[in-house]
């Protein structure tokens, strides 16, 4: 019995001993050791970076052309989903089909049973509201809100550009960006990234074990920074004109660039074929991008700045300006055209036209023979020791109009075009082995010379201004203040007298009044322009027209290229004149509706 008593006590002592040990341990970890409290806080309090919405973009008339839209991704934590959920209802609410739902949930399970995976992408606010009402019936499903760019006018993709996830290299070089942030990749979105992105905010939130947000920490009293939305920009575009231009260019390949001569502000910038910028948003971006990239008409190719074409006859006005300034020809000097220009073994053809007795007529009739003669006189000017020197001088004039160099600053991948000079031909033929006739095709804007549509529009704006221009640009104001980049506020001056400009302008006026582009005539508006037909070694010639209007105090300068459109007067001139009319009068006169109709219905796709 004594032994049993001892055993009885031993067992009780074991119970009490373990109890005391556990109480001491609890006392130690709960009361003595404070580190667990800190660890618990570390567990549940997460620093959350708040990405502000990007700045809005308005057009010059105050219309909102780029804005943000909240979209909702429905996410799932597979572990928390009960065995049976009403999949029919779920599919009805979110608009996905059952097979996709099951497939996505399986994929989520494979990824992780306790981490968030996306099940339904990009529900609109309206669709999400419908789902939200029943969300309590679907435990384990969560919504995550995101902001995406949206373009109410569905146009100007090549100007506005797009945003996408920041790449690794950028994150390494710039501490502002973190994995998954969005950044402007092209267009205005890229050029004005720092204005548009705003400033990130930071706050402390309570999270659960799966990093899901459960509320603010200490009612948000410790929040450090409030996110600031990006600045709003006012673009120089007139979105109505832009959309009208895109409509006119439907089923045609080419470009329209319209500039306000007084300021260099780009009013319209059409690259055709174009695409809806809303396609390049969110999850569909990759697929859209691939489709566009593989399109044989190359919609991603930004033709106004990347397409380098011969200017054709639109270039003749510059030849006259240079020749008159250099006194290589006089205003009232004509040239007998007998179907072209003949020199040793060389013939440049010309169309049939009334005799040319002065500069204005030469421009109006676009006489090739006249310009061959004029160009030769520029090169062989007695003022200079050699043709080479005359040529170099010509090139300097040409470049003062912005040719042969990048002329805008905001967009990516602009081409400089090409103005050949003596060095080029020396290389090609050898020094002293070429003469003025060798390069004669330059006289009529053909041959090696290449200009971009934006350069052409800009140079015509310079003519409209009678000898100066501002660098063409796309952004007028940032956060309500004038875009004060110095480059946009410097006036580039062309070393040609304004009286000479008046003569050439008169010639350009005659082009429309009774010359090659009578089709561009608009009642009540004095349009000055010049047609061109750019020789295309790969197929049918490109139709070109460049113009400005009105003649006095010009409001718009424009260049239009229609690839494979043939004569300048066939497609490009009507399009330019419709753009001018639309911009200056806000409508198309009844007697020109037929023309608008013809252009809208014109289909040049597939012509070569």
């Amino acid at each position: 019995m004594i032994a049993n008593n001892l055993r009885k006590l031993v067992i009780r002592y074991i119970f009490i001993f373990v109890g005391i040990i556990y109480l001491l341990r609890l006392f130690y970890i709960q009361i003595v050791d404070h580190s667990y409290r800190q660890l618990a806080t570390n567990n549940v309090v997460a620093t959350k970076i708040i990405i502000p919405p990007r700045g809005y973009i308005y057009d010059r008339t105050g219309k909102l052309i780029v804005t943000n839209e909240s979209i909702y991704d429905i996410m799932v934590i597979p572990r928390q989903v009960p065995e049976e959920i009403d999949t029919v209802k779920f599919c009805r609410l979110t608009g996905i089909d059952k097979a996709t739902l099951i497939q996505n949930i399986d994929k989520a399970k494979k990824y992780s049973r306790s981490k968030l995976s996306v099940i339904v992408r990009q529900l609109s606010v309206k669709d999400y509201a419908r789902f939200q009402e029943y969300q309590y019936q679907f435990p384990g499903f969560y919504a995550q809100v995101r902001n995406v760019r949206t373009y109410p006018y569905q146009s100007a993709a090549h100007v506005l550009g797009d945003i996408g996830e920041v790449d690794k290299k950028r994150i390494e070089n710039n501490s502002y960006y973190k994995m998954g942030d969005y950044i402007g990749i092209t267009g205005i979105e890229k050029a004005y990234e720092e204005d548009l992105r705003g400033a990130k905010g930071k706050k402390y939130v309570i999270v659960d074990a799966h990093n899901l947000e459960k509320g603010s920490f200490k009612e948000g009293t410790l929040d450090t920074t409030v996110a600031r939305q990006g600045d709003s920009l006012t673009a120089t575009l007139n979105i109505m004109l832009q959309n009208y231009g895109e409509q006119l260019m439907q089923n045609k390949v080419g470009s329209i660039v319209a500039i306000e001569p007084e300021t260099g502000e780009i009013l319209a910038f059409v690259s055709s074929p174009s695409y809806d910028p809303n396609l390049m948003v969110g999850s569909s971006r990759g697929e859209s991008f691939r489709t566009l990239l593989n399109d044989s008409l190359r919609p991603l190719f930004n033709r106004p700045i990347m397409g380098a074409y011969p200017p054709g006859s639109t270039f003749k006005v510059f030849q006259s300006l240079i020749a008159l300034q250099e006194k290589a020809v006089s205003r009232y000097e004509g040239y007998p055209c007998s179907g072209g220009y003949y020199t040793r073994g060389l013939h440049v053809g010309c169309h049939e036209h009334a005799p040319v007795g002065n500069v204005e007529m030469a421009i109006a009739k676009s006489c090739n023979a006249y310009y061959c003669n004029t160009f030769r006189k520029i090169l062989e000017n007695r003022k200079y020791k050699s043709v080479e020197e005359g040529f170099e001088n010509w090139r300097a004039y040409t470049e003062s109009f912005g040719f042969g160099q990048k002329v805008t600053l905001e967009l990516e991948n602009e081409m400089p075009g090409f103005i050949p000079g003596p060095d080029y031909y020396n290389k090609l033929y050898g020094k002293g082995r070429w003469k003025a006739p060798t390069v004669l095709s330059l006289a009529i804007g053909q041959g090696e010379i290449l200009v971009t549509p934006v350069q052409l529009a800009n140079a015509y704006a310079a003519i409209a201004n009678r000898g100066n221009y501002y660098t063409p640009h796309f952004v007028k104001t940032i956060a309500g203040r004038k875009n004060d980049r110095d480059e946009f506020n410097i006036r580039h001056t062309i070393p040609i007298d304004s009286s000479i400009f008046e003569i050439v302008v008169e010639g350009m006026y005659q082009v429309v009044e009774n010359g090659t582009a009578r089709i561009a005539k608009i009642k009540g508006i004095d349009v000055c322009g010049k047609t061109g037909t750019a020789e295309n070694p790969h197929g049918k010639d490109h139709s070109v027209f460049a113009a400005f209007a009105p003649k006095k105090k010009p409001k718009i300068a424009i260049s239009v290229y229609v690839e494979n459109g043939g004569f300048g007067a066939t497609w490009a001139a009507p399009i330019a004149s419709l753009m001018i009319e639309k911009y200056l009068t806000d409508s198309i006169a009844d007697n020109r509706k037929w023309l608008e109709q013809r252009i809208l219905e014109g289909n040049l796709i597939g012509l070569k």
């Binding site: 032994a3 049993n4 055993r7 009885k8 031993v10 067992i11 009780r12 074991i14 119970f15 009490i16 373990v18 109890g19 040990i21 556990y22 109480l23 341990r25 609890l26 006392f27 970890i29 709960q30 009361i31 050791d33 580190s35 667990y36 409290r37 660890l39 618990a40 806080t41 567990n43 549940v44 009960p82 969300q135 309590y136 435990p139 309570i206 999270v207 659960d208 074990a209 799966h210 459960k214």
Partner: protein, 484 residues
């Protein structure tokens, strides 16, 4: 007359203190489950969640408890072995038809989302059978045959549970050692079993040289005390003290602690010094040479055991790397953020952050936001510790200890050997669950997934513990009747 003899009506004969402790624990557990499953977004908390299901299980358990109290207690004594057979059969059935969840095949689906875990009931039937067998008048632990039968009775469900892949539930059967100790099983079984486990864990958790060192220090302190009692001259004691101090010093100096683990020379020096000291003590001591000798031999044996454990653990001859990993993770040696290591860490954070009075009901951030895994089952104590703090956690610990002591008190007052053995079985099994489960949540015992009695969510566990306890209360209420 009969009324008087049996001590009145059932209601008067029954031990209400135990029932109150039971009720308080079950209801506290239910509230804690409510807290773990509470979520504002659930509309249908009664039926969708553990909380709702547990309510149904509590209801069923109460009915079962009442039924056990009403049934003639002879039912259990008479049919102890058939009931045992049925329990074993269930274990076999689950092995064949059971559902496998996370590696263990321990569930039988009952339909309607309810599942049965036969291993929970295996403890009950085994206690019954062992109590029945050991209550035989001729039973003696000195008979090898009879001891073998007892061991076999425990071993069969143990092995079957292991075959299900449920190591935790299987280990519970080791609790029978405590029950059998009361009935005369040698204390050495407890000592060797408990000590072996303790030193195995210590040897792995801490640097083994360090543990040996501590043991040697304890040995010298023991010898020193014996010598003092013998009245050995002070000079010798001073010399002895200095030796003890030299050996103990490294324990208290951090830099040396690090070196200790790395340097073989220090270990060698320690061993040499220890041996010299032992001979010195033997030389100066008088009659107690034998005691000192036994102490020394014990220390040497334990030291070799500890060093051997390490050798076994880290030699590729005995353990495959993944087996070693499992043991290490179970002991919290290896940072396994996703599994056991993570669980214990998060569990400690949850309980530790509770403070004195806790964060308040439903306000525990660690459990509410799912940082603690298995929070309504194995780690339910975390929620309690976090939301009710030291106050709540310690009250529950004390309630459990009171319940265990009350049960063994009741067991001691039994006239029948059967009910006494059964009572000790109930206490031992519940105590084992309590010690392992709470010990695991506060980082004292390895992570072994067994439920906290009455607290953890789970119908089988609650029902089995209720039957276990109330069968004993029934026996106790009839202690004056049963004179077997």
């Amino acid at each position: 007359m009969i009324e008087k003899q049996t001590g009145g009506k059932l209601i008067e004969r029954i031990d209400w203190l135990t029932i109150i402790l039971y009720a308080v624990l079950v209801l506290t557990g239910w509230l804690t489950i409510f807290s773990t499953t509470y979520d504002e977004s659930y509309s249908n908390i009664l039926f969708d969640t553990h909380f709702g299901k547990q309510a149904i299980w509590i209801f069923l358990s109460v009915i079962a408890a009442v039924m056990v109290l009403i049934i003639d207690s002879k039912f259990f004594t008479t049919f102890a072995f058939p009931i045992y057979g049925l329990g074993i059969l269930l274990l076999l059935i689950v092995l064949i038809f059971g559902a496998t969840t996370s590696g263990s095949t321990s569930w039988l689906s009952l339909g309607g989302g309810f599942k049965l875990q036969p291993s929970e009931f295996a403890k009950l039937v085994t206690v019954l059978a062992v109590a029945k067998f050991a209550s035989n008048r001729q039973f003696s632990f000195s008979s090898m045959t009879q001891l073998s039968v007892v061991i076999l009775l425990v071993l069969i469900p143990f092995v079957l549970t292991i075959m299900q892949g449920d190591m935790g539930s299987a280990l519970v059967f080791s609790a029978f050692a405590l029950m059998l100790y009361r009935e005369g099983l040698s204390g050495f079984v407890l000592l060797i079993g408990g000590g072996g486990a303790l030193f195995f864990v210590l040897g792995l958790l801490f640097d083994q040289v360090m543990v040996v060192h501590v043991l040697v220090c304890f040995l010298f302190v023991g010898i020193w005390l014996i010598l003092q009692r013998e009245g050995v001259r002070n000079t010798y004691l001073w010399i002895g003290s200095i030796i003890v101090l030299i050996i103990a010093a490294p324990l208290f100096i951090k830099e040396i602690q690090v070196n200790l683990a790395e340097s073989g020379i220090i270990t060698f020096f320690l061993v040499a010094l220890s041996l010299a000291a032992v001979f010195f003590f033997l030389f100066v001591s008088g009659k107690n040479r034998k005691t000192i000798g036994i102490l020394t031999v014990t220390t040497v044996v334990i030291s070799f055991y500890i060093l051997g454990v390490n050798y076994l653990m880290y030699s590729d001859k005995f353990l495959k790397p993944h087996q070693r990993d499992r043991i290490e993770v179970a002991l919290g040696l290896k940072e396994d953020k996703k599994r056991a290591g993570y669980n214990v860490n998060q569990s400690l954070i949850a309980i530790g952050s509770g403070g004195v009075t806790g964060k308040g009901f439903l306000n525990g951030t660690q459990t509410r936001y799912n940082f603690v895994p298995e929070q309504s089952t194995d780690f339910i104590f975390c929620t309690l510790g976090e939301e009710f703090g030291f106050a709540g956690a310690s009250i529950v610990v004390v309630l459990f200890i009171l319940l265990f002591i009350r049960i063994v008190q009741l067991a001691e007052r039994q006239r029948s050997r059967f009910s006494r053995i059964y009572g000790y079985g109930v206490a031992s099994i519940m105590f084992f669950h309590f010690a392992i489960n709470i010990g695991m949540t506060i980082g004292i015992t390895p992570v072994i997934g067994i439920p906290l009695p009455f607290f953890s969510y789970g119908g089988s566990s609650l029902l089995a513990f209720t039957l276990l306890l109330f069968a004993f209360l029934k026996f106790d209420s009839e202690r004056l009747l049963i004179l077997q």
